[in-house]
């Protein structure tokens, strides 16, 4: 079938070639290479020959099961309870270690548990850290994508005005984007420290009611702290994209709505927002993809700790591939991440399609 792309379009293809070539060389080929590696036992450093291991790497990463544990019973057949009346359970390690009766759980580790009646349902995974990193990454995306997008839009609306010295504000909001993320992460590590700026401000504002806390050292607050910092850091970038979208909306539409007597909200709802449709899709997809790639902040600020509360998929891929020299395992994580991001991007495209 002849189309504009194939007929007498040599110049077009010639112009596209450098771009396509670079994309192929640095994105497409490495991806297929990673996919191939993830099916082997390739090591970063090893004199041993590479062997094909099929889906072992994926099995080791994704293996997950639910283990039902009955409470301990004493000789009389009664359930043993501790002082608070809660039933006592045998340790998970009695099932997962050297227990020939439960070969399917061998080498697995508890992720979390819930109770149904007196039976404890324990979710055990072959690689708990990877599952935690998946959960952390998804939680990060779920919060950062909408909040960062909305904040950026708010800032864009604020600076899209004819005010004196508005460029100064634009520069201020954009500044964190220009600074290296490593530097920003280091600075925020000091802000979040136990004797850091954030604690002393909160202490002052609450007239001494607020006790300082170690934001990055507490599993409950560490990921939240990194979310806040990441949103602040990249919000300026998306503000600029929103701004460019805002400036493509024709002033005549605003004049018309003003003549019609539209309120500020109505103007935003029926003129600005529909005009930003394509920008919104772009911003959403870009933020989502950037959020999935969360790495530098983790590497500088927490190293995935405390207790795996901030570990992410990309951090795990690097840690495994380079730190632990397991290139095939790192490649498997990259492939899983690729499929995950691809799926989510396709869903987003579908949901935001032109109806």
């Amino acid at each position: 079938m002849a189309s504009k792309l194939t007929t007498s379009n040599r110049a077009g293809w010639a112009f596209a070639l450098p771009g396509f070539g670079l994309l192929a060389m640095f994105i497409v080929v490495p991806f297929f290479f990673a996919f191939f590696l993830s099916l082997t036992n390739q090591r970063l450093i090893s004199p041993n020959p590479t062997e094909f291991v099929g889906l072992d790497n994926y099995r080791n990463l994704l293996g997950i099961r639910v283990l039902s544990i009955e409470p301990e019973v004493n000789a009389a057949g009664e359930i043993v309870r501790d002082e608070t009346g809660a039933p006592e359970y045998p340790r998970v390690r009695t099932f997962t270690r050297n227990n020939p009766d439960y070969p399917q759980y061998a080498g697995m580790r508890e992720w979390f548990r819930w109770h149904s009646g007196d039976t404890a349902k324990v979710v055990v995974a072959r690689d708990v850290v990877f599952w935690k990193s998946l959960r952390n990454t998804l939680m990060f995306v779920l919060v950062v994508a909408p909040v960062q997008g909305a904040l950026a839009l708010g800032l864009a609306l604020l600076i899209n005005q004819r005010l004196r010295a508005i460029n100064i504000y634009r520069a201020i909001y954009f500044m964190p984007v220009v600074v290296s993320i490593v530097v920003v992460s280091l600075l925020w590590r000091f802000l979040y420290a136990e004797e850091g700026l954030l604690n002393s401000i909160l202490h002052g504002l609450s007239f001494g009611m607020f006790e300082g806390r170690d934001w990055l050292g507490d599993p409950d607050t560490a990921l939240g702290a990194i979310k806040a910092m990441s949103i602040w850091q990249a919000v300026g970038f998306h503000m600029v994209i929103w701004l460019s979208g805002l400036q493509t909306i024709s002033p005549t539409l605003y004049e018309a709505s003003a003549i019609e007597g539209a309120s500020k909200w109505q103007t935003f709802r029926y003129v600005t927002w529909p005009g930003l449709r394509n920008t919104a899709v772009l911003v959403l997809i870009v933020i989502t993809m950037q959020a999935f790639a969360l790495f530098a902040q983790i590497d500088v600020m927490t190293n995935g700790g405390p207790l795996d509360s901030t570990t992410t998929v990309v951090f795990q891929a690097v840690e495994r591939g380079y730190g632990k020299q397991d290139i095939s395992g790192g490649a498997a994580i990259s492939v899983i991440l690729f499929l995950l991001v691809l799926t989510i991007s396709l869903i987003q495209r579908y949901l935001t399609r032109e109806k």
Partner: protein, 419 residues
Amino acid sequence: MNLSTTLAGALVASTSIVGMAAAQTELTMWYHGGGNEVESDLLDSIVTDFNAAQSDWMVSVESFPQGSYNDSVVAAALAGNLPCILDVDGPVMPNWAWAGYMQPLPISDAALDGHLDSTIGRWAGEVYSVGLWEAAVALYARQSTLDALGLRTPTLDAPWDTEEFMGALEAAKASGDYEFAFDPGMAWTGEWYPYAFSPFLQSFGGDIVDRSTYQTAEGALNGDAAIAFGDWWQSLFTEGYAPVSQDPATRDTGFIDGKYAFSWNGNWAGVATLDGGVDDVVFLPAPDFGNGPVIGAGSWQFGASGTCEHPDGVAAFVEHALQDEYLAAFSDGIGLIPSTTEAAAMTTNYAPGGALEPFFGLSEAQALVRPVSPGYVVAAKVFEKALADIANGADVADTLDAAVDEINTDIERNGGYGH
């Protein structure tokens, strides 16, 4: 790939200029001390002396920042661009030797005479690398603290046992004079954890892997001794003796400022502590937790890369560098422990009566190298994470079990690492 090509290009460019000047055979060398002027000057003077002293070899040095040094070597090795003389961290050497990045060093036994054993890197029965210096860890304290709390001063022959050590921490905590009784150095993530803390585990009777076979960590890292160690380690933090998280600045100055009563720190911090005004600092030996007192050993060493065509040239250079005057110069310059008693006598700090002399005794009496295995690189990472998790309150037995599984899987996937 790209990085190493650039590096190789730079290397070729920089070495060809020197190469034209003489008929000596070119030997390139990579060093981990990039950015440290004192260290670079010391090494340069050794290299200049060596190049002038004989007519066969011409050494040229390329320095890298320590943080990215190992990555640079691995990248260069994958691309086949290794230099001839490699600088290697002691515990990493077996990994590189096993992978073929290094070859045995044909050095004469005479040159190694009198060297601290832990400065000689051996793998599969052969010498691969030799170090000009050693490092050691001690329990920093003030004599005034010991006196005020009424504590016995431990010695190499009679170190504190578990009870005395915990009693000392309790006394320091009860005195209320210190923010924390004990500073293990939690801020120094990375190799510090296995280097500084695995000796505690070994003193309890456990280890990172079972050193009789190097094929499993089962029993060594999750046996009764290891679980006792884990419980003790966790109690340091739950009982409030030590801070779980610490920023690097406090690590550097906390003991000097009097925030901590005891600090677990290396000889390299000794000079700074004395300069910081702690005149009555004492360097106490590691406590004995039941299986003898232990500190870590093995520092940076020199060896020949696997692709080097002139290992005899490398050996000649290393033999030249091992002269006592250079060992002493390095020690005076950057505070490290010289490898021989003779060199120690020539230094300001490690000579008999010198301020840091106790460290030399510690290295001789308590030092135990980290597991000599290519798998150590991975095991060290796993161990670090396990200790951080336990300090943060994770279940001790489960965490150690998981660490054992991860180490064993890694050993298995590497076909036993050639032991």
